[in-house]
Point group: C2
Chain length 332, copies 2
């Protein structure tokens, strides 16, 4: 019979202990997690970065990834773009009773693999089970801690006129992959999400000699949301539509659905604002990383009045506003 999650798996008794010892512990195994105490004891340092994200993506499995890979990558990436070295991850799961145990095992394996890829340790966790119908399959929260090895902190406030805006890879694939999977849009081959931990790529960028003013992962709200947050009251950002890397299948899907790739979530890409004279150095560092091979300069920061513009193929400037309304729900 298909093994399924029951309320007992979340109740702090024997069934939960079995779940922890048979599934979580072997998958995540590390010395900080192993004591299974209320808190994990970890080495840190003077200054740490802390972040959290909850994941409610639907469907749970999609081309290129799943909620497990997403839940590790999302938090790792938030730490990495802060200039911190991602190190420790906590995992909080809320599971609906009746959820298939083999699906949970796949998700856990995916989390363990992605954590290894990102160089982070899953050090503590918690599992709650709610009755059937009270949640939608599984929701995962991760929180993360990163360490600072030196003083470099990219900050939006450092962005200045003359900066070049760089994106580390093709945009909009995560949002479109999940959308296509959810709506059963029959793209062949299927659109694959870019979901990945960007820590190694960011590390290459931080270790070169160039200066990074700001760095972000453009997730919900896409590139449009991040760049809108980056324009200051006295600057504009102008991005060149022609230089935006978008995969052909993603561009086609966007066109069919009438969606603008600028507003679609990414989960393995990074946006950077870099002083002009360092732009090529940073670009080379990105190109040397697996995830950064299609990195491109897509725009620049100018003196202005707090607006984001897209330079269209017709040479006109189109104002790109902050995303409003629903966007795509449950993309991450």
């Amino acid at each position: 019979m298909q093994r399924r999650i029951t309320l007992a798996h979340g109740s702090g008794g024997e069934a939960q202990e079995e779940l922890i010892r048979e599934l979580f512990l072997p998958a995540y195994s590390n010395e900080m997690l192993r004591p299974l105490t209320d808190s994990a004891i970890c080495r840190a340092g003077e200054k740490i970065a802390m972040t959290t994200d909850s994941f409610v993506v639907k469907p749970l499995f999609f081309p290129g990834g799943d909620i497990g890979r997403l839940s590790i990558s999302g938090t790792v990436n938030d730490l990495a773009v802060s200039g911190a070295c991602p190190r420790y991850i906590s995992v909080g799961m809320i599971i609906e009773a009746g959820f298939r145990m083999d699906s949970l095992a796949r998700i856990v394996e995916s989390m363990a693999g992605t954590a290894k890829e990102a160089g982070v340790y899953i050090v503590t966790g918690d599992t709650k089970v709610v009755e059937g119908g009270a949640a939608d399959g599984i929701f995962i929260n991760t929180a993360g801690i990163g360490l600072f090895t030196d003083g470099r902190e990219p900050l939006a406030q450092k962005i200045a006129p003359g900066d070049r805006i760089i994106v580390s890879g093709a945009i909009a694939s995560h949002g479109m992959a999940v959308m296509a999977a959810r709506e059963n849009l029959d793209f062949k081959p299927p659109i694959e999400s870019d979901v990945a931990p960007v820590a190694a790529m960011v590390e290459k960028v931080l270790q070169q000699d160039g200066v990074i003013n700001a760095m972000r992962d453009p997730t919900r709200g896409g590139v449009a949301a991040t760049l809108n947050e980056w324009v200051g009251p006295d600057t504009d950002i102008i991005i060149d539509g022609q230089s935006l890397p978008v995969r052909a299948d993603v561009a086609a899907a966007c066109a069919i659905l009438g969606m603008d790739p600028l507003y679609i979530a990414n989960e393995g890409a990074v946006l950077l604002s870099v002083p002009h004279r360092y732009a090529d150095t940073v670009l080379q560092a990105l190109h040397s990383a697996d995830l950064g091979r299609s990195a491109a300069i897509i725009g620049e920061v100018k003196k202005g009045r707090g607006n984001l513009y897209l330079l269209t193929e017709y040479g006109t400037h189109r104002k790109i506003t902050m995303p409003r309304g629903e966007l795509l729900p449950r993309i991450c």
Copy 2:
């Protein structure tokens, strides 16, 4: 019209930014949260404790507390019983579309107040909104970081024959309060939960000269679960039923419902295993704290074979096993 949460509040766009700036930021205000960057930058030290918990309690508001107070206390308490000084908290919310905005505001105020009481900062957060029916009102995850100021780490492995088992206050009130509220059991006055941050009380205990071998907060699975985890292969723990502090209303409710207070969750109590000669010192420290006024020695550790026994009023020993099965779902 009643303001309600919409999918837009979770989509990374304008509505979400408004929610953050108008509700979360004023409530939690601190210098680490204020930049609203992907990660909060925090001062730490060589060694930190990290923990996480998700909260799915039903109902969201119950006598003595609510999901907000619970979500801060639970994580603070896990850090405190590790011997760490609770410091930074992350908050991940998963909210069902249609949730009342005034309920969210009450929860946020409760979190802010409890954080203040516990001396912790809410430094980072994330909000996801799922469509109506895909979650049950609101689920909250908190992760926490605590700092170590010295080498004291209570650990279950330190427990030794001769240790006294101490509980810091009356047991079983949280579980019974939530249960009574959920099932509309008409106790008058209503049974109040003990939910509270224990950090200040634990600090008093750690600052006295006595030695603490082990310390835990007996939440899900109650005192029975914690003490079962504490017995080693060569020890037994014997608790004296007569010395167990249980409030009269809680005892009555347990009797009516046929439930054993030993298995019922606590959210503001601490169990300690203390060498015999330090038991009185520790007890005095507990009595000096607001939450610890009814602290009592409830049992002791003996050489044995890995069992937990209750000494009954008839002088017999009843074996208390690890809780099995469902227990009470959605108590925290």
